[in-house]
């Protein structure tokens, strides 16, 4: 085992998450597949959402999978870049809006 927490080849082994909980994994993969099927949102829109979330949760496996996934659904790099900015804006905004919590607390503690 090499000295890294992440290994790109582990992406292909995603199915092995079921090794010690096959029934749960079966349910997870069935649900996962259904989530990404064409529905009220197109498969491409779902791919772009997944790509944005992948950046928000900073999952390298998901970024790998959904960069290719979005291209194969017909998205281009401009659209994908905008999706990443959406993730970044929400992350930045989330930090900033908590500034109000900080102010409320500080106000409560201050004379």
């Amino acid at each position: 085992m090499s000295d890294h927490y992440y290994h790109s080849h582990d992406l292909e082994r995603f199915g092995e998450i079921g090794d010690h909980a096959p029934e749960l994994a079966k349910k997870f993969f069935a649900w996962y597949g259904a989530v990404f099927a064409e529905g009220a949102l197109t498969a491409r829109e779902k791919s772009l959402i997944a790509l944005a979330v992948a950046h928000a949760v900073q999952c390298p496996y998901c970024i790998d999978a959904y960069s290719k996934g979005a291209l194969e659904k017909g998205a281009d790099v401009e659209q994908m870049t905008e999706a990443v900015h959406v993730a970044a804006a929400i992350r930045g905004g989330a930090s900033l809006v908590h500034g109000l919590q900080m102010r409320n607390r500080a106000d409560g503690l201050s004379m």
């Binding site: 290719k68 194969e72 659904k73 017909g74 281009d76």
Partner: protein, 375 residues
């Protein structure tokens, strides 16, 4: 084929003379220009044998015959001969990065009038329509004569066109010629946005292509009722499968009309084949193994029925016969008589189709053929 024009750039004359210019390959790429052909660079992958060796060196989960056997589709057999596909030469005004023909301005291979006559004799003995490809087929000196002869036999003719050739002075009257002979135009356009297209194919290529498409529209092409059929072809610009054809067609129809006032009849998505310059790019970019494995993993038995080798006879510039244009480039000859002079329809019907690993490209996902998705 000309429609494989994905992200090439129209070459200036200087760059076409390989080895004479001062531009190194990385410089050419950085400047967004294309490299000369593999043949002109004397690259190892100019040889079909080297391409097959490289393609066969990748570790894969299974071979194409095994995939067909598992699906109960082995051996692969012909249906009816619907299409006579004539590759009339490797000369092209462009040198696209993804060309599986290794076509370009420096190529000299071009079908002679005598070979065309032999093709016409075969055509007369069948019910097939004619699919003319290249290179840029319009650069064959006998191109117009060939179209006229096919039409005189009452056959539908398709021309696989890179669009930019119709923007050159020598070919400026071709759109009218096409309309007069009701030639179906199957042309490559990588994207409906100028920025994406020019990034892929070079400055100004999108504008030229749109200018030509508007001229074709003005002649009635793409209006849906003139009988003048205009088809766009899009290959992915990279090592991934094409998006679903129907979704893309709807989006392109909407966006090309809104942005450019351009109409077309159909959009074909075509998977890139690990052959020639695209194979070279796959290897150089470190994508070869991943792409081949992606094609194998995406094998779709439902896509097999519509693959082109089952209803197409492919003829090379020198009259050699193949099961498809890809086998032609890999120099995998057809079973039975290997030259157009010896063609026999019954032998063609009974033959086993010659396959290799690149065939996974036609059966991946929604499938891919000269007519786009097959499943």
């Amino acid at each position: 084929m000309a429609y494989d024009a994905l992200d090439g750039t129209t070459l200036d004359a200087g760059l076409a003379d390989a080895g004479k210019g001062s531009s190194s390959a990385p410089q050419a790429r950085r400047q967004g220009r294309s490299l000369p052909t593999l043949a002109a660079r004397r690259a190892p992958l100019a040889s079909a044998e080297a391409q097959l060796t490289l393609m066969r060196s990748v570790p894969l989960a299974r071979e194409f015959p095994d995939a067909l056997k598992d699906a109960g589709l082995w051996p692969l057999k012909a249906r009816e001969l619907d299409i006579l596909q004539l590759n009339v030469g490797r000369v092209c005004n462009q040198t696209c990065h993804h060309c599986h023909v290794d076509a370009g301005p420096d190529r000299r291979e071009s079908m002679t009038r005598e070979t065309m006559e032999a093709c016409l004799r075969v055509l007369a003995r069948t019910e097939a329509c004619v699919d003319i490809t290249g290179g840029a087929p319009e650069l064959n000196p006998n191109f117009r004569w060939l179209v006229e002869q096919c039409r005189a036999l009452g056959r539908h003719v398709m021309d696989r066109c890179n669009l930019t050739i119709l923007d050159t002075p020598a070919h400026a009257d071709l759109p009218e010629f096409f309309a007069e002979h009701a030639v179906e135009i199957v042309c490559s356009l990588p994207h409906y946005r100028a920025t994406s297209t020019d990034k892929q194919r070079g400055e100004g290529v999108f504008e030229k292509s749109i200018r030509v498409l508007r001229r074709l529209n003005a002649l009635g092409y793409g209006d849906g009722n003139s009988g003048l059929r205009l088809v766009l072809v899009a290959n992915p610009a990279g090592a991934f499968l094409p998006p679903p054809q129907a979704c893309m067609e709807a989006e392109w129809r909407r966006e090309l009309l809104r942005r450019e006032d351009v109409r077309f009849d159909a959009l074909y998505t075509i998977t890139n084949m690990p052959i020639s310059r695209y194979l070279e790019w796959l290897e150089r970019s470190g994508n070869l193994e991943g792409y081949m494995q992606r094609l194998v993993e995406a094998f779709n038995p439902a896509a097999v029925a519509g693959v082109m080798c089952r209803n197409t006879l492919s003829v090379g510039w020198d009259g050699a016969l193949f099961d498809c244009d890809f086998n032609q480039m890999l120099e995998l000859p057809i079973e039975g008589p290997v030259h157009v002079d010896g063609f026999d329809l019954e032998t063609w019907r009974r033959r086993d189709i010659v396959v290799d690993r690149h065939c996974f490209g036609c059966t991946a996902g929604a499938g891919s053929s000269c007519g786009g998705a097959t499943a």
